[in-house]
């Protein structure tokens, strides 16, 4: 629930520090989960950013966009073009991606925000699908169509050549003033951006601007009769979330300098909606949590194959084992989206406020039990808001 004037705001410094420690220490505490390798942790950070930005539009302002993958795609293409033309330094690529995704979001938002509710969602979906199809057809000179856009040794890379780093043997890797953006440095580069994005999200949530966005979600009619022009507020939220998506798209290319149109497909737009709702729309930390869980389960379940299933269910008698494995096989590997769908249904039905709400319920139950026992034990304040 949104409660920003209340005492919760006072714990922000602690909450943010805890979050920062958790993110920066991921290479340590993710080891027992088998998730402490840079590629996956980078994905957590990048999709976390995507969801945090999306939450400013959807969670705070109440506008459900089904087209945010378009901004992710714009960010990716911009970043790769920056690598090709300017050089492999990620900073100009990120700056340009944020700016261009923001501009693109302004145009799409300006048109789509003439409608609300389902019509707004359909408009954004239509725009995103148009972008996706354009990337495959007319825009092939810019996007390189199905092959995807990649950096070639023959590209100008003006800045690289000026710095005398133009000639490279082997594949081109992004580097921050000589530090290669792969492995752990690559993860920490993304993590720093995640922390910046999270910090800005905290500021927006607690600011008068954020309060206005929540009020738009709560009662747009009252806002109009309260002297507030709601559309510029909603458009600003839309552009901000588009910029977050652009940043996430650029970061995806920092780790792997390749941009393809499938990044703009509607399934990618749907995924960020799932992440936000799964974690808790309108909460500060929910979207990050949702992004982490979805990317982690994708990693686990999509890696399963028939052999792993046979190993797991090996203790069952042969006939039953075969049946169980063939049923379970539907939910893993290529079919892991089925698992995701089930998980999502369970959350929406039993925990409409997302996992953060679940956390709050457990916290409340523990606090009640603690008081009932007379031990005076207070529930530990959770990292999650």
């Amino acid at each position: 629930m949104t409660k920003i004037v209340r005492e919760t705001a006072h714990g922000d410094a602690i909450r943010f520090s805890l979050f920062a420690v958790l993110i920066l220490a991921m290479p340590v505490w993710l080891v027992p989960f088998g998730a402490a390798y840079p590629d996956l942790m980078q994905k957590f950070a990048i999709y976390g950013l995507f969801a945090i930005g999306f939450n400013i539009l959807f969670g705070l302002t109440g506008y459900l966009s089904f087209g945010h993958a378009a901004f992710l795609g714009v960010g990716s293409y911009t970043a790769v073009w920056s690598f090709k033309l300017l050089g492999m330094n990620p900073l100009p690529a990120i700056a340009l991606a944020i700016l261009l995704a923001g501009a693109f979001a302004w145009v799409i938002g300006y048109v789509s925000l003439r409608r609300t509710g389902i019509y707004f969602a359909i408009l954004t979906l239509a725009f995103a699908q148009m972008s996706y199809n354009l990337a495959y057809s007319v825009l092939t000179p810019i996007t390189n169509g199905e092959t995807g856009l990649r950096v070639l040794n023959s590209d100008p890379r003006v800045l690289d050549h000026m710095m005398g780093a133009g000639e490279v043997d082997g594949p081109l890797v992004t580097n921050l003033f000589g530090m290669e953006m792969s492995g752990l440095p690559g993860f920490y580069f993304c993590a720093v951006w995640l922390l910046i994005g999270m910090f800005i999200s905290f500021r927006i949530f607690r600011s008068p601007f954020g309060l206005m966005l929540m009020a738009i979600k709560s009662n747009q009619n009252r806002m109009n009769y309260t002297g507030i022009s709601t559309r510029p507020y909603a458009l600003t939220a839309f552009v901000i979330s588009g910029m977050y998506a652009g940043l996430a798209g650029a970061l995806l290319c920092v780790t792997d300098p390749l941009a393809g149109a499938e990044r703009m497909q509607w399934t990618a737009s749907g995924e960020v909606v799932l992440m936000t709702i799964l974690g808790g729309a309108g909460t500060l930390l929910g979207p990050m949590l949702g992004a982490g869980i979805i990317k982690y389960s994708e990693n686990i379940f999509s890696a399963f194959n028939e052999q792993t299933l046979h190993n797991i269910f090996g203790f069952l008698p042969d006939g039953i084992e075969g049946a169980v494995v063939s049923v379970a096989g539907l939910f893993v590997g290529e079919g892991w989206h089925l698992t995701l769908g089930l998980l999502f249904m369970l959350i929406v039905i039993f925990l409409p406020g997302g996992l953060i709400e679940g956390g709050h319920r457990i916290q409340a139950a523990v606090a009640r039990r603690g008081k009932g026992g007379g031990s005076g034990h207070q529930a530990q304040p959770q990292a999650a808001e």
Partner: protein, 252 residues
């Protein structure tokens, strides 16, 4: 010259003439009630004041400035606040937040990206909102969720949201509709007290005669889109045309 001047206003919906040559002059500082049977055009008139509807002909001037063609938020920024038939509040937010939003709208205007200072670090706005909540008797509920309030308390909150803006004119559309007798009396007390303290001009549309006669300085009676009588409560009480409009009003 009144604070709100309405001249020759007509409004039709298809073949239906909702407002027929309406002239009104609202005196500054008064509480002016508009009464009349269902379908007399009272709500249509109110919607013409706040920018929801645009009259076909005529003028609506507030403090000498035309309100026609302005959007609702511009009219509010000019100093006109509105209370709805069903209280319109931000039911996901706390009471304090509900009252801070209109106060911020006065300080920061219709649109401003204000992210540098936190909401709870804006003492000017916060103090004003808390004082206003205390004024309507909701101070001890200020951190509660406004969605859980009783109908009467929601009305108080909505009034606080309007008055915190220090408007020059408040429009009230049946403020006691659907309320219990106790809540109605509370609201009357509150409105009377607000008139004394804030001296705001009020236009009130009401069905409840008890409310009208206990509060109004002047009353205009509407029938079939047209004001038929205007006067003090005493004058209205005895007027045969009013009785006809309410009881035997089926004339052509």
């Amino acid at each position: 010259m009144g604070i709100l001047q309405v001249q020759n206003v007509n409004k039709s919906f298809g073949g239906l003439k909702a407002l027929n040559n309406v002239n009104l002059d609202i005196e500054e500082g008064s509480l002016h009630a508009i009464i009349g049977p269902n379908g007399a055009g009272k709500s249509t008139l109110l919607n013409c004041f706040v920018g929801r509807l645009r009259p076909d002909t005529g003028t609506v001037k507030f403090n000498g400035r035309s309100l026609l063609g302005l959007s609702p938020h511009e009219i509010n920024q000019a100093g006109v606040a509105r209370v709805f038939q069903t209280p319109e509040i931000f039911s996901d937010l706390t009471l304090l937040e509900n009252v801070m939003i209109p106060a911020l709208a006065v300080r920061d205007g219709a649109f401003r990206i204000n992210t540098w200072r936190r909401v709870d670090k804006q003492p000017d706005v916060r103090d004003r909102a808390e004082a206003m909540l205390a004024d309507v008797g909701l101070a001890d509920k200020r951190n509660d969720h406004s969605g859980n309030l009783s109908r009467g308390d929601k009305r108080r909150l909505e009034l606080a949201m309007c008055l915190v803006q220090r408007p020059k004119l408040v429009l009230l559309d049946e403020p006691t509709a659907g309320m219990s007798r106790a809540d109605t009396n509370n609201t009357i007390d509150l409105l009377a007290r607000m008139s004394e303290q804030h001296g705001v001009t009020k236009i009130i549309i009401e069905h409840d005669m008890h409310v009208v006669f206990s509060l109004a300085d002047r009353i205009t009676v509407f029938a079939q889109g047209h004001p038929i009588v205007e006067g003090t409560p005493e004058q209205i009480k005895g007027d045969p045309k009013v009785k006809e409009a309410y009881l035997g009003g089926a004339h052509v």
